[in-house]
Subunit: 306 residues, 2 copies
């Protein structure tokens, strides 16, 4: 049995590889997923991983199958490095910046989109999020404002239509993980972290972070002191740590948040927490469907060739 | 051969155990060290560790040998928990708050000093630093102001004579270690970290932290971006990370720093870095001899019994 598609859209992240077959009318004809993320592959293993994922898929028009890839496949430690575009830049230029690895098995023609960097004393990089931002711009023509992309390395980007003006990265998600696993705070974070105290701890931590983002190095230790002195349980402590970090991130980006809702692109659970903290300062967040966003971004990138 | 002393002063930390034999004129008659810090001992191993360290030491006055201990031996996971005094409190009350484990081997009479805690929405704890603060007060009668104790968990304490008014803890040293070892920043911090670029990176990081302590979660990621985009070497990145964390700590405590020099109690290398960053904001730091400070604190604690 074969699947016939017009082209293939791929999001190749650090942990996962996701592909969608796009029919000639733009609809999604098939979806395939694999755990072969960039982080698990050596450079020479990328072609086989893609070929395996796309077994039995053939192009409607004959010839080779176009595969448009965003994400970590284009990183230095990925398949083939796709040099960054430098912000400020118009994301309609993504396809022009793509790199093209050799044809795979004589039948698959891959193109890897670039990430976006920022220099001039504000060094920063993104890979994958630029395609999501283009997707947001395509789904919401004329949108202008800040976009928040919560995650391991949260991004805050200022978008004007398809143009990315400026962005920053907050190590919020990774900080939660390394502190929970490797710091003295782990003693307060062992046991049931999802108990009923988590929501109360989250609200308290978020309030502290929002109020004094400059005190993070100090407030973090209160997770430990709170369990030693006030008998705070692991679920409360986990909520406090999570809230404190997200509150600090949002508090430090407060000057970017205007009157309109902040689009949130990330996992639904995480976006809901960010929306909750935004509401605490009288702002609002608008969680997006991340899959729709990345698909819209890959389609838009493909449509803007020079 | 036996050593004859009046009493024994002990600093029992997480990593190390240090003892000084004090002669009847107050001078140090002997010094002994061991790697048997609290972190390496089960509760029932403390008596033997102390007895072994003090083999052959006898009291000048006959009877049992008084041993006054500060630090982690009094922690919940230590020898015998010494409940915290609660700040604000007069540190002349430390000995009254001491706990007394059973006499060891019929010849050693240990007393463990309490730590100090803080409650009322600013939960915090210290163990060991309170004795150093009393030592500073003893060596500098009448001193009033903020004291900085750099380390894994840096303390900032407001002292008025022998009274501790308030304190906070910054997880600066531990943050450096967990980020260097376990976060994405480790990719930028492998190789020679002590090369000539370290000083330049330190100054740049300190300036960034001092200027915008609220941006720590974001500025941290610039360590990684700087090595990807600007070819920053591991020594520069290590200096930047260290400077950024210390600059953030000092920047967030700026409101506590007045016109007088801030006493710094910690390792000489670390105190020199803190003094350098304090100078960047027109303040000054005054590194103390940490051994003299803790000895003075144990002597002072012993002299103030109810």
């Amino acid at each position: 049995m074969t699947d016939i598609v017009d082209w293939i859209a791929v999001d190749w992240g650090t942990s996962n590889l996701r592909a969608w077959g796009i029919a000639s009318d733009g609809s999604v004809a098939l979806e395939r997923n694999s755990a072969k993320g960039m982080g698990k592959l050596a450079r020479d293993e990328f072609p086989a991983a893609l070929s395996e994922l796309l077994a039995g898929v053939t192009p409607a028009h004959g010839g080779t199958l176009d595969v448009l890839i965003c994400g970590m496949a284009g990183a230095r430690q990925g398949w083939l490095e796709a040099p960054y575009l430098e912000a400020p830049t118009d994301l309609r230029g993504l396809l022009d910046g793509a790199v093209r690895p050799d044809i795979v098995d004589g039948r698959i023609a891959p193109a890897i989109l670039p990430g976006v960097c920022q220099k001039a004393g504000a060094d920063n990089v993104m890979r994958g999020e630029e395609t999501q931002l283009l997707g947001l711009a395509a789904l919401r023509p004329g949108f202008s404002g800040v976009v928040c992309m919560p995650g391991t390395h949260s991004k805050w980007a200022q978008l004007s239509g398809t143009r990315i003006e400026r962005f920053s990265t907050a190590m919020t998600g990774e900080m939660f993980e390394v502190l929970r696993t490797h710091s003295v705070l782990r003693h307060s974070l062992t046991g049931d972290l999802d108990g009923p105290g988590r929501a109360e701890g989250f609200a308290a931590g978020a309030a502290a972070g929002l109020e004094r983002p400059e005190q993070l190095l100090g407030t973090l230790f209160q997770v430990r002191a709170g369990s030693l002195l006030s008998g705070r349980q692991p679920d409360w402590c986990a909520g406090y740590l999570s809230g404190l970090l997200i509150g600090t991130e949002i508090g430090s980006n407060r000057h970017l948040i205007g009157g309109q809702a902040v689009p949130l692109i990330g996992s639904p659970a995480l976006c809901a927490l960010y929306a909750q903290v935004l509401a605490m300062i009288g702002a609002s967040g608008e969680p997006q469907d991340a899959t729709q966003i990345v698909l819209a971004g890959l389609k838009a990138a493909r449509s803007f060739a020079a």
